[in-house]
Symmetry: C2
Subunit: 321 residues, 2 copies
């Protein structure tokens, strides 16, 4: 008998990746393309279709279906992409268009939700019915599994864990509010704060500036991560602010959801792995004791593959007989 | 055929209430007692048993079961009360003890979760699959229904919506942290802030002080509510701080859960009903647009009966054939 498999697609503003994923959540083959934003939805959908043909080519059996994670808001019922700012899409009937073209069942979800499916079914969350994923990259996103159900909410936007206010008087956020976790700990915010700190104190910021080739506008979150690893005092001070916000935001979510596992991933966490330990220690002090009595804080297991693996696993769950 | 019914019990630190609730969630009969905390668990359990006998007396049919909401943390599997500070209970096997004594199936839950069951099945949340209840009384508690499931979490503590940090540098809370919603908007916090404000500005606080019979330590949240309704400037300033914290906390929860309905109840909301409108307006500004696009903010429907009605409805759901 042929081994069952499915196709997972991760569609972001920069790149499009599609993978043949087996029943155990292993990537067997993958294809990547730059996202052709200028060509509009039809050009991108054509690229997705071509990637799917490439993956099917030479495989005798048919995949159970296609799962696709998109960086945007998705209609739960019909798989339409309501709004995807990074793709410049509004109201694109992605599920319908893809299904009609490839003759396979398609399920569309948000990219961070797809990554949460991946971590839940094949990553750090395996076997756990109550978990919270926080992915800390340029932005901060996440997903929540509670009582064995992936939470979707009323408009399919549940799990917006980046825009949790932790300081009513804090720095401004891209969402228009002040003091969101993301405004302290998202990659863009770390970059902003680091440049401001170096500008305000050039002597203290000497090492960070050096690492950025002497150009303040080349300092970014990765520079700070290198500074932290090198023991630079200013970088470590910046880290305190990042950690403080993540601890406060995670504590809020732990009190609200009471997860068994808090799974942390994304570029900022990968760049500064000690954040996991600090968050672990911090939330136990800050969240309610009963809400963390069984909590484990752990790094994500699938790294950048979480999206394609999760989208493929969602397709299996939705369509496999 | 006899009409099906069940018994709901609301066990708090001050009073114990039990009610005969019919299949439509209407209270047909009720009994109340002061909670005999000094007598320890056995005295309270005996009082509960007596209340249940009173309610069964003269009714020909047997209830489907008993639901009991307790102000404390409850073990999901065995219905043991792990910790109930207001009752001074630790590890009391309430479900087991009651079942053995009364020969009816018993389900135990947290008191605020019971009230959420009530609002969901028979109150403001009827027919809705995604809702968030916030009860703002002396403390702040709540419950969450997502995708038609009441969230419980890993240790049955999901829905702790009072200890959401909204200001890392804010006032101290009873939980040991700073700037929780409850530390601004819980009844005890309003009382604290009002007394501090009057002490700092006796002239501005003249009316509040007068309403409390000239004694600053008699000022409480109800005094502030009366001052708000009377247009007192200091009371209205205090209200701004309460509303701001509730808006920030509710926005965090709306982003995280994406509910269709935000249902607000409890003494503080009942005392200052204009809070509902302010919160409605505020969350639409502060939460993400996609997360509130279908949101309705509304007052709780069952007032102080939510607990017994919800506990009884949970019993029906758990035991009715």
């Amino acid at each position: 008998m042929d081994e069952p498999w499915s196709i997972g697609v991760d569609l972001g503003g920069t790149k499009l990746e599609a993978a043949h994923v087996d029943a155990l959540g292993r990537v067997r083959q993958r294809v990547r393309k730059a996202t052709n934003i200028k060509g509009g939805p039809s050009a991108i959908i054509e690229d997705v279709i071509n990637c799917i043909w490439t993956l099917r080519n030479g495989v005798d059996s048919s995949p159970a279906g296609v799962g696709i994670g998109v960086a945007g808001q998705v209609d739960k019922e019909c798989g339409k992409v309501i709004f995807a700012p990074n793709l410049d899409w509004r109201d694109v009937p992605l599920q319908n268009d893809l299904q009609n073209s490839i003759g396979l069942p398609v399920v569309v979800t948000n990219d961070v939700r797809a990554a949460t499916w991946g971590e839940w079914l094949h990553g750090a969350g395996r076997g756990c019915d109550d978990l919270l994923c926080m992915f800390v990259g340029t932005g901060i996103g996440g997903g929540v599994v509670s009582g064995g159900h992936m939470l979707a909410g009323c408009n399919n936007t549940a799990g917006e864990v980046g825009h949790i206010t932790v300081d009513l008087n804090g720095p401004t956020c891209t969402c228009g509010n002040r003091g969101c976790v993301e405004a302290f700990a998202g990659g863009w915010a770390i970059t902003r704060l680091a440049r401001e700190s170096v500008a305000a104190d050039p002597e203290g910021g000497r090492l960070l500036l050096e690492m950025a080739g002497g150009r303040i506008d080349e300092i970014n979150a990765a520079t700070v991560a290198r500074g932290v690893r090198g023991g630079d005092p200013m970088a470590r001070e910046l880290l305190d602010s990042v950690a403080g916000a993540l601890i406060a935001g995670a504590s809020n979510l732990i009190n609200a959801f009471n997860p068994c596992r808090l799974i942390m991933g994304g570029g900022v966490i990968d760049g500064i792995p000690e954040l996991i330990k600090r968050i672990d220690k911090g939330v136990r002090k800050q969240a309610l004791a009963a809400a963390c009595s069984s909590l484990i804080v752990m790094p994500a297991g699938l790294r950048t593959d979480a999206g394609v693996i999760g989208a493929a696993a969602l397709a299996v769950r939705s369509f496999a007989k």
